[in-house]
Symmetry: C2
Subunit: 431 residues, 2 copies
């Protein structure tokens, strides 16, 4: 008999089927044991009445791995609408110890550090697994949208000879006796690759030696990176980002609806035109609303971002807001200035529900412009990058989405670690 | 006018269109200049007859970035069957220097080190770009096949507290004052995740401090990793691998046919059943054929693999061959033994055209089995991994495909560096 999963019972009512999975929980009543079998697709209820079988089941600890042949019966009272009757139980593995948490609870009753310490078992819990499913669907939507827009996927090195963005927050390593670094982003490589494919993307790990222990920073995270050539300015980049976000939400619906339902997630609607506000105008709004001195500050504080997120929702009915024209002073050297507003840039942040989710913008593309913003030492260190500009690069730009931030915001997790399989931070490097 | 690419000319004969890209080459005759414009899709021929325009074109170096409005004309003599007439040329960027190679040549005339040093420009060459397109299509096919088989994509950490496979060949780094390592594979994490999703895959970088300078090793490469639960044995793993390979070839055909054609690639046919031979039988064959003493050796030499590749082709008409039952002595600690043959394992290598491309097999899944093969120190270091087995793991197995090796073998590259965007090895860390 071929194995089916717990989500396929409806098609097999009245038949004998084989299921396999983990013993999620057992409810032992006087005459009957209800055994909940968890597999990759969900949970199925097995009704055990035979005394011998009930004795075998009673000997099983939670997370025992079992195979069950049984008859599928429709039952309005059973979770999911179906039950398994007359089971024949084969025990594949019976653990020697019970899990450190009661897996049967709708939410695990444990502190976040404890959940992270015991990730190997905590990640099996349906709610945590659901967040991972949403993350996986998001990445699939990111890629399929970009594939549809003519982008090519690339894989660029994570061991680099020079710190990508700046000297700060970079991990160094011993590379065959020399010092190398872990890439803080694929920025320089994805720009080079615009010269090859015009439109490229990469999904991969990036590394930041973040000395801060916050709910939204990790030492290693997954960056969804995009770069495209032959743009007019950053608005063309924003348009691609808008489509990517819409594609990510669509694919969550297509591939992870059970997870969305289980977690009670309110998926955002991505407007055809995401509202936008200039950095300077945002500061004036903030100043008028809060009475604080804000205009002239080089960046927005998290509280300002939250305020603007709320403003976008009430004023434009949007979970998303582009803040454009960040001061050049706070942007990296490859940032393209805003032609009409000296000191500002053709760059943007995308706020999602009041949290910075994406940074992007137009980059410099003329070789001379790079010579103007780098010193001799930098030019030597970045020679292999600057060579791309020496030989003709079109106007281009791009963005990067932090996957864990996206997932956290989608599922409403307060701490980014809740939606990261095996988070890395100042204090944590295992499991 | 909306921009079109060089592959869309057929649909616009008789119309004015806008193209943009790089000046690939110019052929200047007495009355006419043929300008080859290269864009992401290919190359288009622009016919320049106006003297003013010809003067402008004459001032452009190779790799100049230009936008061209022109009329599409069918022409049996033009490459691709179409030409662009009456062009209006806008120069976006004219480089200050010509490239270090003649980009117009069908193959770049330069040594591999020189090509790698100047990757920013060499990667733009149509042949090198074609290999990258084939690589990207392969990864897309890997993912879509697995998505169709119910696998979930995961992202596991590359900074780890313990060397994954063994203490050898591992890069160490300073992690907030402690020593950490770069993951040699996602092996331990993908096994943990079988407990969560049953079937998982990951595409990401892995790191090997390879002290050998060979044509088939890199210090960083892309590993296409798969792990699945509820298997009978390694044969179930081989069946998934077979489907994955077929999906990769299919997607190359779908997405990268122009690249296949340009490179004259003979794509392999993946048989419904890939032929298999036991390690021991392979050694007996080799011994009989070569007269060498081979039986009893713990591994196959590259020359043996080549011989077996040839044997599979002549004997079975297959580019692929499973060699099963490698000696336990040469396999990692998590390897499942072969029940019927002590000393051998339920593991395999897949040879592709005589080169080891994939390693895989069944893993141990009982907690006690792991306790039996680890010492106390290892158990302490791997506590977060072993916890998965403490709480019920099904029989499982998996495999890993080296992306660069795959691509090299597909396009017939002698050196893996030829198909790696920015290779990392003993001597190379830039660009």
């Amino acid at each position: 008999m071929t194995r089916i999963t717990s989500s396929e019972l409806a098609a097999h009512v009245g038949e004998r089927v084989t299921l396999a999975g983990w013993v999620h929980h057992q409810r032992r009543l006087a005459q009957v044991t209800f055994l909940l079998l968890r597999d990759a697709a969900g949970i199925a209820q097995v009704v055990v009445v035979d005394d011998g079988d009930r004795a075998v089941a009673a000997g099983l600890l939670p997370e025992a791995v079992v195979e069950i042949d049984a008859s599928v019966v429709a039952s309005s009272q059973a979770p999911g609408g179906f039950e398994l009757h007359q089971p024949v139980l084969t025990v594949l593995v019976n653990p020697s110890e019970a899990p450190p948490f009661e897996m049967r609870r709708p939410e695990l009753q444990a502190s976040l550090p404890s959940l992270l310490d015991h990730a190997a078992i905590a990640l099996r819990h349906p709610r945590i697994r659901a967040a991972t499913s949403i993350s996986a669907a998001s990445v699939a939507g990111f890629r399929s949208t970009l594939d549809g827009l003519g982008f090519t996927e690339i894989h660029t090195p994570k061991i680099v000879g020079t710190a990508t963005e700046s000297g700060a927050n970079v991990f160094s390593l011993d590379y065959f006796g020399r010092t190398a670094y872990l890439a803080q982003s694929p920025q320089l490589y994805k720009q080079i690759m615009v010269g090859v494919f015009e439109r490229v993307y990469e999904t991969g790990p990036v590394f930041r030696a973040e000395p801060h222990d916050t709910v939204r920073h990790l030492a290693e995270y997954v960056s969804l990176d995009v770069e495209l050539g032959f743009i007019r300015d950053h608005r063309d980049v924003e348009a691609v980002l808008r489509d990517v976000l819409a594609g990510m939400v669509e694919t969550i619906v297509e591939r992870a609806s059970p997870a969305v339902e289980l977690l009670g997630v309110q998926l955002p609607v991505v407007p055809d035109e995401i509202p936008r506000i200039h950095f300077h105008d945002a500061q004036e709004l903030l100043e008028a609303a809060t009475g604080e001195q804000v205009v002239g500050e080089p960046d927005l504080a998290p509280a300002h971002e939250r305020w603007l997120g709320h403003w976008a929702l009430t004023e434009h009915g949007s979970d998303f807001l582009f803040v454009e024209g960040y001061p050049m002073a706070k942007r990296p050297f490859y940032t393209h200035p805003e032609p009409a507003r000296p000191g500002h840039s053709n760059s943007f942040d995308l706020l999602f529900r009041g949290l910075e989710l994406v940074t992007g913008g137009q980059r410099l593309h003329r070789h001379q412009d790079y010579l103007d913003v780098t010193d001799e030492q930098t030019r030597a260190a970045l020679a292999g990058y600057l060579e791309a500009f020496e030989h003709g690069m079109p106007p281009h730009g791009g963005f990067a989405i932090g996957l864990e931030r996206w997932t956290a915001r989608i599922v409403g997790a307060a701490n980014i670690r809740e939606v990261t399989l095996f988070p890395r931070d100042l204090n944590r490097i295992t499991p």
